[in-house]
Symmetry: C2
């Protein structure tokens, strides 16, 4: 049996069309190199709501658990916007994170040299930016109880959520950040609002303890979330690894991605704990861009973030460093050659659609 069991979940919006380009890459690998992936496909998000009445079925969860890695597209769209809270497409990805224990969401924000001009920031501010945001992704206000909207005796409503962290949840994601920093520029910026939030106070304390006991060689900086947003915008190069809880990690990783100016280029990974007996860990890979319903089905979406998510998957879940690099190099060459999808279009470049971009990557391979 293959040890490369891959589950593909295209999801909604542009998900299916960018995933098609990854399929081409996989086909090429199949033909050329005879890597035997064992590929399954499943449904999630709006597509799953339409077919099964739930954003993520038990069957999809079971398939994901059985796989060595999951390649995810994106979920959501206006079609499902009026559904009640418990039935929305977004809950599909939240359930996968939770049920597979995918607690560390890794979101690189990398400015590739040919794309420096695509940023809204000045070239001298963003050239060379290489940030990794490590976002806790199974805890905090996303899952904390109690939560709800209640009606008070006088008929008025009150909505509430609980932002809660156990020290072990903080410590394990902090370790992921410190480990990554050691392979990078050795600096972690841990972000919270320890000045106003109790969970933030614990966050800062625990990160400090893990640092002191296990990673004294890594530089640790604590920063308030509001200041971090500011600094990301004004001096992004100061950052190496940014560590944040589920909510701050969500907002700050999107900001970090935006400042590269090439959202359609950015992959991400969400990792679970390493199983001590098998040495394996659950992992899900997805582009940072969402389902982009406004351009879905038009054939103009940038497939490179999905392709690069697959490269990350090859590297981290299948140990195929060489093939990952090959794929990343091919993407780099396609860009250097001047091809651009609409989202990263620059004067003097050649504007192409989703499939031409995908084909070009395969050709470079």
């Amino acid at each position: 049996p293959s040890n490369k069991k891959l589950l593909i979940l295209p999801g909604d919006g542009i998900g299916p069309e960018v995933m098609r380009e990854v399929r081409r890459v996989i086909d090429w690998m199949d033909r050329r190199r005879m890597v035997s992936f064992d590929i399954d496909e499943g449904i999630v998000g709006g597509a799953s709501i339409d077919a099964l009445g739930t954003p993520c079925s038990d069957e999809t969860v079971a398939k994901a658990k059985a796989a060595d890695a999951v390649l995810f597209g994106s979920v959501g769209g206006p079609k499902w916007d009026s559904l009640p809270f418990e039935q929305r497409p977004e809950l599909g990805i939240l359930r996968l994170r939770k049920d597979l224990g995918l607690f560390a969401n890794l979101r690189p924000a990398l400015v590739m040299d040919p794309l420096v001009e695509a940023s809204s920031l000045k070239p001298e501010i963003v050239r060379g930016v290489d940030i990794m945001v490590v976002r806790e992704s199974t805890g905090g206000v996303y899952f904390g109880e109690p939560r709800g909207v209640e009606t008070l005796p006088d008929g008025k409503r009150r909505g509430f959520d609980t932002d809660v962290y156990h020290e072990d949840e903080i410590a394990r994601v902090a370790r992921v950040a410190f480990d990554l920093a050691r392979k990078r520029r050795n600096k972690v910026t841990s972000v919270e609002k320890a000045n106003v939030m109790q969970s933030g106070r614990l966050w800062r304390a625990v990160v400090g303890e893990v640092h002191k006991a296990e990673y004294p060689d890594v530089q640790l900086e604590n920063m308030y979330a509001d200041n971090c947003a500011m600094q990301l915008c004004s001096r992004p190069k100061q950052f190496d690894v940014i560590l944040g809880n589920n909510l701050f990690g969500d907002v700050l990783s999107d900001l970090a991605a935006a400042l590269t100016g090439s959202l359609g280029m950015l992959p991400s990974a969400t990792l679970g704990a390493v199983d001590p007996t098998t040495g394996k860990r659950h992992a899900l890979y997805e582009p940072i861009h969402g389902s982009a319903p406004d351009i879905a089905g038009k054939g103009v979406a940038n497939p490179l973030a999905q392709v690069l998510s697959f490269a990350m998957l090859l590297r981290w879940s299948f140990g195929m460093e060489e093939d990952a690099l090959l794929l990343e190099t091919a993407v780099g060459k396609v860009l250097a050659g001047g091809l651009r999808t609409a989202d990263i279009m620059q004067p003097g470049m050649a504007r192409v659609g989703t499939s031409v971009m995908g084909e070009a990557v395969v050709r470079e391979l």
Copy 2:
């Protein structure tokens, strides 16, 4: 008795030195125009901790309640960083917001033409940006109960906060945003995570109801907080008024301020409810920049945000529109004349310190 009772709270860090420049402006007004301000001064933050053992004494609260307007500097600094949560300088400003019922924190992010180049964003992206962030400032996760760090039976810690909103809290701050939009470009972007938070779900619902019932003429857009951070960075000109809860408002207003590149220029106001019998409302004005302990006492801080906060105060609390405009025009002229403090320094300009900048404003007056 004067109806212009002003309480001055310089606070910590650069607070006292930038406040000194406002005093010059007030002196000039006193001499020239014989406006009779009734001025009191008080202590808050670290200064108050040092003197009285508390970040905000009952006396300071009483003075603030008795005043028609409060001009606030900034609080905090490394000196007080190791104090326990309940004794930190930040609690000074939080207590003032809460005890005076200052629920609407108004934070303009305005790119002044002479300062376009100070931004880290490209000139064509930020020229003309004029955003007003309306942040709810007495509710949400800043004050919600229960909150704390508890030790579980097994000795492990758990930190938790409650993000909670009552519909009336949402409605009143939404009205402030809609009212402002009507005097501006008639658009409100309301920000939450209604896709994952219950308080966010209520937020979106109530803002929609207030819009429909009372402000159908204003354009309302709902946006997730992560997307808003992205959009602020890539296309800031799309925004007019941004409305958010205490936490999102904190982070996004700092981001909006940062993208102007001239944090040292930005004032803010925090307003309470209008008293139906007197027609008055409590109000506190402060620069967006913090206490900047790294440059405190060096005479290099930019006093203009504090001066412009005073202009806002004149306009909104004392109804002195003409004098506010006079002061703002003077600031504009000083900049057009080429004077710059270090934070907004640009090639070809004349670098000056705090007091030279303050004097220049008075000279222009």
